[in-house]
Point group: C2
Chain length 337, copies 2
């Protein structure tokens, strides 16, 4: 009963390169805006922001804005500033997330909060967030401002909801889906939707692109949450088992808990509460996740949402841009292996 | 050579009540928006936000928006949402400030971060900040959005600059003024300026009200920084000597350091670096601040800026609203005694 994503080119490894090639010239312009607008007379701001912004981010969300604009045949340049605004919002949430999670590694690098301290990370996050709104105001579209201010509020709600659910093994799959739809997929959706606004297309087109982004974002987060249990720091760019140690309730744990016997459930309660979550417990967690098929089925859920993202795209005329967005979904899912 | 504020009613204690009475009906409407828009299905958000928003704030900044609108004879209701947005931005910065400073008391109450933890305070701050922009988008004025997104970026820059200057006794008075103009006065200025936008007055009027707010904000912060060395927790609503213990470089310290002999400067260096800042050192700091006139002259600087705020108001026709804004300046300065 697992969904299968219908790949464009069976047998070939899906790659983010199609989207990178499609959006390369535009992304240059976006990077120019990003570097220009993260400057400040207060030297610590570009220094800290640069650590994260220059430091290995794929610019996935700005590429989605550019790719969606391309699907619509938009040839203007308004979306460069707006894609930069999206990346600033994303960077601000990463800076604050790392403070919230007390993380030490991100994308294989020491985090900003570990290097510069929590206070600077909180405040530079606030700065980038404000800068994002300044960029949107310069563009002048109230519709874009509405979409991105709403997305920002939803992201924060999702993060607080995640905090509330932390260490609570009774979290349901529905609740988990609500949380990741808010904290991750809302910005993917907004990044795609604003392309329809600059291309001056109607709300149906806006909604279709928002759906593509939302489903891609959900798939992306599901895969991330699976990877946390099957990968190592080198592949993943963060510490393996971070979610386990933080007591973060993700779908693999929810499924393993729901499918476990009473002895196994007690193990998860103790582990997620932080009472027993060392190396030996992480190994046992891995065994339980395998024996209950929890990671494999998390990936099946990811394929389901990935397929929905691809099916939304079918409503747009076939084009290299549409193919690149399709392959991006396949890539998001194939990352796990 | 100290400036004297020309009080409206010599011999009478200046009070915030004139502004409170003037703006009471409007403030009711603002409070309604605030309570309505801090709600969220995620229960922790209104709980934590309510701790600060319901908890003894004077709503000074929203009252300034309302008071300035009143000076201009504006009789619409657009400013209610915008004044609520200003209060949300202020509350978000307070939540983040308390995390940055690791504060335990604010307005005489245990701080949100002490009660709910830093992660929740960071994220609920982000939520309120996003909500503020949603409120502005609903109003629909790009001019207001520009003023408040700019102010938000400037506030964050000021906070980071303050962090950079922390424990550095060589901070100059000019640098200190830049920092407080950004971190405190920018939002006072914006709160006043947006009243001119909703009243559809020209940029000269906008600039005059922004100046009034900026000078009032500078005076307000100078007095706060003086109070930190002369008051107790009960009067002040926060712990006395907090700035001293945190190594926060404020004007009293800058003046005492500049005017001190080498022995005294060494004392300040050790104290501000955190190497020697206990009860005995706080007592000696108090003596040095008195012997160098540092607190008294900080108050003189506050009166100078207060007078400039009052002189800007002289450009507007005499009215009960103008009198209330004038008395607010006198009140801001008289708080210290």
């Amino acid at each position: 009963m697992t969904a299968t994503v219908h790949t464009l080119r069976p047998g070939r490894e899906p790659s983010i390169k199609a989207l990178m090639n499609l959006t390369a010239p535009g992304l240059n312009a976006v990077n120019h805006v990003i570097l220009d607008r993260m400057q400040s007379p207060v030297a610590l701001i570009p220094e800290l922001a640069g650590h994260l912004i220059a430091g290995g981010g794929k610019r996935l969300r700005p590429m989605l804005t550019l790719g969606c604009a391309s699907v619509l045949g938009y040839e203007g340049n308004r979306h460069f500033k707006l894609a930069a605004a999206v990346e600033f919002i994303h960077t601000a949430t990463l800076l604050h997330d790392d403070v919230v999670d007390a993380s030490g590694l991100r994308r294989g690098k020491v985090t900003a909060n570990a290097l510069y301290g929590n206070p600077a990370s909180v405040l530079v996050g606030d700065f980038l967030f404000s800068r994002a709104f300044e960029l949107m105001v310069e563009d002048g579209s109230l519709r874009v401002l509405k979409i991105l201010s709403r997305a920002s509020a939803v992201i924060a709600e999702g993060e607080v909801a995640q905090l509330t659910a932390q260490r609570d093994v009774s979290t349901t799959e529905d609740r988990y889906l609500e949380i990741i739809t808010a904290k991750t997929a809302a910005l993917f959706a907004a990044a795609c939707q604003i392309a329809a606004v600059v291309a001056e297309r109607d709300e149906k087109v806006e909604e279709a692109l928002a759906s593509y982004g939302r489903y891609l974002g959900i798939a992306f987060q599901l895969v991330d949450d699976a990877i946390d249990y099957v990968s190592d720091a080198e592949t993943m760019g963060k510490n393996a088992g971070d979610d386990f140690r933080d007591g973060k309730i993700t779908l693999p744990v929810i499924l393993a808990y729901a499918r476990g016997n009473e002895d196994e459930r007690e193990f998860w309660r103790r582990a997620m509460s932080g009472r027993a979550n060392g190396v030996a417990e992480l190994a046992r967690a891995g065994e339980l996740l395998r024996s209950t098929n929890a990671v494999a089925d998390t990936m099946a859920r990811a394929r389901h949402y990935g397929q929905r993202a691809i099916d939304v795209l079918a409503g747009f005329p076939k084009s290299p841009a549409r193919d690149a967005l399709t392959e991006t979904v396949e890539f998001a899912i194939a990352r796990a292996y």
